[in-house]
């Protein structure tokens, strides 16, 4: 088991290396530079800036320099957020994004599993149709529509909750962003659980459990759920990685200090180091969550073994 985890983590290194290399060069091929302004900087100033940030060197030298720093855990200074290193920016933003994403994920799991199970147990009833309709709605309506509408209704018209802002992570500030993030996930999870739960309820091991006379609730929660949540687990890998690394839309609309914005702003301003930093974070999350998914799979499905 431990050997398997180690092997997987080692195997992720070439993948990460490939992603870093590809992103580095793609980013540099793009026209424009971090110090392009409406009014061009003075030649001497530009030259000095380029020297300070090592942009005057040949590209391969910069690449090796970046890799060298990276190996020592240094992501470099940010080009647009003066006086901040990329570590500082990500270090202050990541906890916010993770807090929001994890809350949304938890909410989505609980609510999605609950709705999906109820729909499966009452298949083809009005509850089932209701859940399906809500799920379609949740998947279809984009988050950049949901977020401003929630903010408008609850923040401006009803004045129940703050329309935006982080406020050190107060529950009132977190509620609307979390709902926005969780809504599409609830929808997907409910749909997946409904489908697999219907199948699981008809399977032999559930029939056996029923035949033993186990209470109905126990049969559903323990025996059917274990099989039914397998598709959700494999869906959750990439979904969790995306949720925890922040959403640019939610952060922009609610004015939250997460890391989702850094990526877009960095790419638009050619803040090379900041973009690289966010790409690395996202890639690491994807790798780690894919591993967690595989381990969970083994724990849930006795037919899967990693030795």
């Amino acid at each position: 088991m431990l050997g398997y985890v180690l092997r997987r983590l080692l195997g992720a290194i070439p993948t990460l290396f490939l992603i870093i290399t590809l992103s580095f060069f793609l980013m540099r091929v793009a026209p424009g530079g971090p110090f392009d302004r409406e009014r061009a900087l003075e030649a001497k100033v530009l030259e000095n800036l380029n020297r300070v940030f090592h942009l005057d060197r040949p590209l391969w030298e910069q690449y090796l320099y970046y890799l060298g720093n990276l190996a020592q855990g240094d992501l470099g200074p940010s080009f647009i957020y003066r006086d901040f290193s990329v570590q500082q920016l990500l270090g202050s933003g990541l906890p916010v994004s993770i807090q929001l994403g994890a809350t949304a994920l938890l909410l989505a799991l609980l609510l999605g599993a609950l709705l999906g199970t109820i729909a499966a147990l009452r298949q083809n009833s009005w509850i089932d149709y209701g859940v399906t309709a809500v799920a379609t709605f949740g998947i279809t309506v984009p988050n950049f529509v949901v977020a401003p509408l929630l903010s408008l209704v609850f923040g401006v018209w009803l004045s129940l909750l703050p329309a935006g802002g982080w406020g050190n992570g107060g529950p009132a500030n977190m509620l609307l962003p979390v709902i926005t993030l969780a809504l599409p996930q609830v929808a997907v999870i409910a749909r997946l659980i409904r489908g697999s739960m219907i199948e699981a309820l008809r399977s032999d091991h559930v029939r056996t459990a029923r035949a033993y006379g186990l209470p109905a609730r126990m049969v559903v929660i323990v025996h059917a759920m274990r099989a039914a949540c397998l598709p959700v687990v494999s869906y959750l890998g990439p979904a969790a990685a995306a949720l925890l690394t922040g959403s640019v839309v939610v952060e922009t609309i609610f004015g939250l200090p997460g890391i989702g914005r850094y990526f877009v702003q960095g790419a638009l301003n050619r803040d090379y180091t900041l973009v690289m930093g966010t790409v690395i974070i996202i890639a690491v999350f994807v790798v780690v969550f894919n591993l967690i998914v595989d381990l969970l799979y083994a724990a849930l499905d006795p037919r899967v073994r990693y030795d």
């Binding site: 590809l22 379609t136 401003p148 839309v249 990526f263 877009v264 638009l268 890639a283």
Partner: protein, 379 residues
């Protein structure tokens, strides 16, 4: 089960029974699906609105009406009834005539004026100078020329959906963005279709090492963070929407290639393909005539689900300010403008949101309906 007709009179009469093709069956099943048919109807309305809406809309999407910035949505025409007369009064004050009466009848303004001296007929120009009056003329003139009756057309504009922060008609802008969204959806999906089907069919049909290499390429492209890629494309192509969406289509073909490859592998072992091989049909011919037509079912399903995905992506990029550029607009741009102005002008957020959500809904429902109709499993 009702789809399969057995013991039909034709069979009894010895007439060869007409086989029902996959497509005929699918069409019949789709017709019975009310949600899908309603979606299809609404989608046709959207397409008509996208094609003809901007042509028949009374306002051009880029025309700015500086007097009517951010007027709320209403059925009433601007300027309002009670605003016309004061406007006329202020304009006519400069003519230094004695204004005896100002009346508004429908779209015509009627002014009776008199003066102690003879009135110059060029006096109508004062009215023409104002933005809301046009075509001013003198209809009656007394014999001594000291009193006249002037008429002018009042230009009355309706902004059913209100106007935006620059005084542009929101309805016209929504119509043009529906056109843009549909165009982009069709364009990018078309590109994804061509590349995906060609790549997947080739990989599946050639098999072996070629297949391995081709699918490895797909896997590697899969691993790239997509938003990053889209932003880079914007950076490369500048803000050229058409080029960008050809590029987006060129990214979205990965799933299509996988689906087609899987289908191709299972199809290439079927008897009719072997028969074609035995008859000496060239590999390209088999691929074109026998394999690709048979993969169309899943491809169409995937395509109808890809269109809303692409439209959503375009709106998302536009929302971030990376999509189409002013004065052209898109639903994403309108929504982001609406979100910025939602306190003072909530209608600017509501209408584009409804338009986009409705479009995505119909496409998704239609896709689901098609999947149910074309899925050979639950015949």
């Amino acid at each position: 089960m009702t789809d399969v007709a057995t013991n039909t009179p034709e069979l009894a009469a010895g007439v060869p029974a007409k086989g029902r093709s996959l497509w005929a069956t699918a069409l019949g099943r789709l017709r019975r699906n009310k949600a899908a048919m309603a979606s299809l109807f609404i989608l046709v309305l959207y397409v008509l609105a996208g094609i003809f809406g901007p042509m028949i809309s009374p306002h051009h999407y880029a025309t700015v009406y500086p007097e009517y910035v951010r007027v709320p949505a209403s059925l009433e025409a601007y300027p309002r009834e009670d605003e016309v007369v004061p406007q006329a009064e202020s304009v006519l004050a400069r003519t230094r005539l004695d204004i005896n009466a100002i009346e508004v009848e429908g779209t015509t303004l009627r002014v009776e004026a008199s003066s102690e001296r003879e009135i110059d007929t060029r006096v109508t120009r004062y009215l023409d100078r104002s933005n809301i009056f046009s075509n001013a003329r003198i209809t009656e003139k007394s014999a001594d020329g000291r009193s006249v009756v002037m008429e002018a057309d009042v230009e009355r504009l309706r902004f059913i959906f209100g106007t935006d922060g620059n005084g542009r008609d929101l309805l016209a802008r929504i119509l043009i963005s529906i056109r843009i969204s549909l165009m982009i959806g069709a364009l990018a999906t078309g590109v994804a279709l061509v590349i995906g089907v060609a790549w997947g069919a080739a990989a599946g049909f050639l098999g072996g090492r070629v297949d391995n290499v081709m699918m490895r390429v797909v896997d590697i492209l899969y691993a790239l963070p997509f938003t990053f890629f889209a932003i880079l494309l914007v950076v490369f192509f500048g803000r050229n929407v058409v080029l960008m969406f050809i590029a987006v289509g060129a990214v979205e073909w990965l799933d299509m290639a996988r689906i087609v490859r899987g289908q191709t592998i299972s199809l290439s072992r079927r008897e009719f393909v072997q028969a074609a091989e035995a008859l000496g049909v060239s590999p390209g011919g088999i691929l074109r005539r026998h394999i690709i037509p048979n993969t169309l079912g899943p491809v169409i399903i995937y395509m109808t689900l890809l269109i809303p995905k692409v439209i959503l992506l375009e709106s998302f990029l536009s929302f971030l300010g990376l999509g189409v550029q002013e004065p052209l607009t898109s639903l994403g741009v309108l929504i982001s403008e609406g979100a910025r102005n939602m306190r003072s002008a909530p209608y600017m957020l509501l209408y584009p949101s409804i338009a986009l959500t409705g479009l995505l809904f119909t496409l998704n429902f239609l896709g689901d309906g098609l999947r149910d109709a074309l899925d050979p499993k639950d015949r």
